[in-house]
Amino acid sequence: MTTSAPSTPAISFDGVTLAYGEKTIVRDFSLEVGRGEIVCVIGPSGCGKTTALRMAGGLVQPNAGAVRVLGEAVKSPRRDVAIVFQDYGKALLPWRTAAANVALSLEAAGVARAERRDRIEHLLAKVGLAGHGDKYPTEMSGGMQQRIQIARCLAQDPQVLLMDEPFGALDAMTRQGLQDEMLSIVAETGATVFFVTHDLEEAVYLGDRVIGLLPNPGRTGVDIAVDLPRPRDQLETREMPDFLHLRRELFDFIEKAEA
């Protein structure tokens, strides 16, 4: 890890192809995500956006090309890369409390038991779950469950956060709240974010860049820089002319991609 200069990208896909049997999911896909950048990936279903995320996470290996994280080829999941799954209900351990779910990450990292308590409390407070540590996931709302998962990922001290439609299953108000919390956490830690979503407004609101993928097989369609000022604001940002232009541009792209 120390060998990579700060200039190397956080994530790089270099001519990546992945196929399951006859079906090519992603073909000759290339993309670089800079350090500390928030890149949102959109595209119609079957465009390979989740597959790209899974390759960056080391959960699947490409058939050709190279995926690198912080300059190193990805062979298996690594501890400084955290993955937030959409289906928090399945990704949490239902027999563990919120605190114990977060603890799992620290146990995996070999953090001493005595040290865990303080860190878990700190992490739960960070995601707005202070005082809820003793509850079981099934006793909590969807938004709170997703916060547990985010806290568990933050416990990894990640340099890279891979988020697979993390707020897709939540209601609009909860989603906006979590979007802002995520942005402030990321601003604080300086982590790089690879954010897959099907919500175009979410992509523009969160991203420094939005990548639009085309399906069958998956490849890059558009790569748009988002120059909206930070910190972003749910009302003001979404009313800016630039925001509306970008939204329009992506909407047109998706309409064409799905045609």
């Binding site: 209900g89 990704a91 351990l93 995996a108």
Partner: protein, 254 residues
């Protein structure tokens, strides 16, 4: 509790009363039947002089030890087969060839290896309990939420941690069910072995009573075995809820 709990007792009570009347009216010197009241007296006597409890202890010790040994082996093999497909494929024919052997059929073999006594009985009970637990555990492995396995990979859990912290808790509800089924099997097999060959426990007690032409005592043993079986199952249910309450219910909650 529902207020109508006693309704379930009406039919058995009527049957017992009918049997009592029939035995008294026609008076019987049967070698195989006895009046319910005589059976109750024989059971009370057996309990009072400690002979029934002593036999119960022997049977439960053998059944429990066999369940523990066979259960642990079945659990380990089930986890291995469930998680490593290659091993499962390699061993499939072997397992399917050995599994259908009735447990009583290995009695002569067990006799030669262990002689009379606990070891032989425990070995046969273990053999009988191994298979259901192995098969339930193996299929429980397949039922584990794949996302949880991905989470364990993403977090970088060691293989041991993955089994202890993800696989076993996730499979626990089905594994506990398997142990409850196996407990019933263990009791059946233990008593069978005792009746067939082993001079121990409740099975031997029932055999001795029969050969001593004491139908009341024989039937008292029979009734007692039923009570013990019921109690074992009830105890396992309570233990399951007490020890693993949250985890055992995890599946239902999803």
């Amino acid at each position: 509790m529902t207020s109508g709990w006693w309704k379930g007792l009406v039919a058995p009570a009527a049957l017992i009363a009918a049997a009592e009347i029939a035995m008294r009216v026609w008076g019987s010197a049967s070698m195989s039947l006895a009046a319910p009241s005589d059976i109750a007296v024989a059971l009370a006597k057996g309990l009072a002089d400690g002979s029934v409890l002593h036999a119960t202890g022997q049977t439960l010790a053998a059944a429990g030890a066999g369940l523990a040994l066979g259960g642990l082996a079945g659990l380990a093999i089930g986890v291995l087969f469930g998680l490593v497909r290659t091993v499962d494929r390699l061993m499939e024919v072997t397992v399917e060839a050995i599994r259908p052997i009735p447990s009583v059929a290995i009695l002569p073999l067990a006799m030669l290896m262990f002689g009379f006594g606990y070891s032989m009985e425990i070995a046969i009970v273990a053999f009988s309990c191994l298979w259901p637990i192995m098969i339930y555990t193996r299929s429980a492995m397949a039922g584990i939420e794949p996302r949880l396995m991905e989470v364990s990979r993403a977090l970088g859990l060691s293989s041991w941690d993955r089994i202890v912290k993800i696989v076993l808790p996730a499979a626990l509800p089905r594994i506990l069910l398997a142990f409850r089924l196996a407990a019933a099997i263990a009791l059946v097999v233990a008593v069978t072995v005792e009746i067939a060959i082993n001079p121990l426990g409740l099975g031997y007690g029932i055999l001795v009573a029969q050969q001593g032409l004491q139908p009341d005592l024989m039937l008292a043993y029979l009734a007692w075995i039923g009570i013990v079986g019921w109690a074992v199952n009830a105890l396992m249910l309570v233990a399951q809820q007490r020890l693993f309450g949250r985890a055992a219910m995890a599946e239902a909650a999803q």
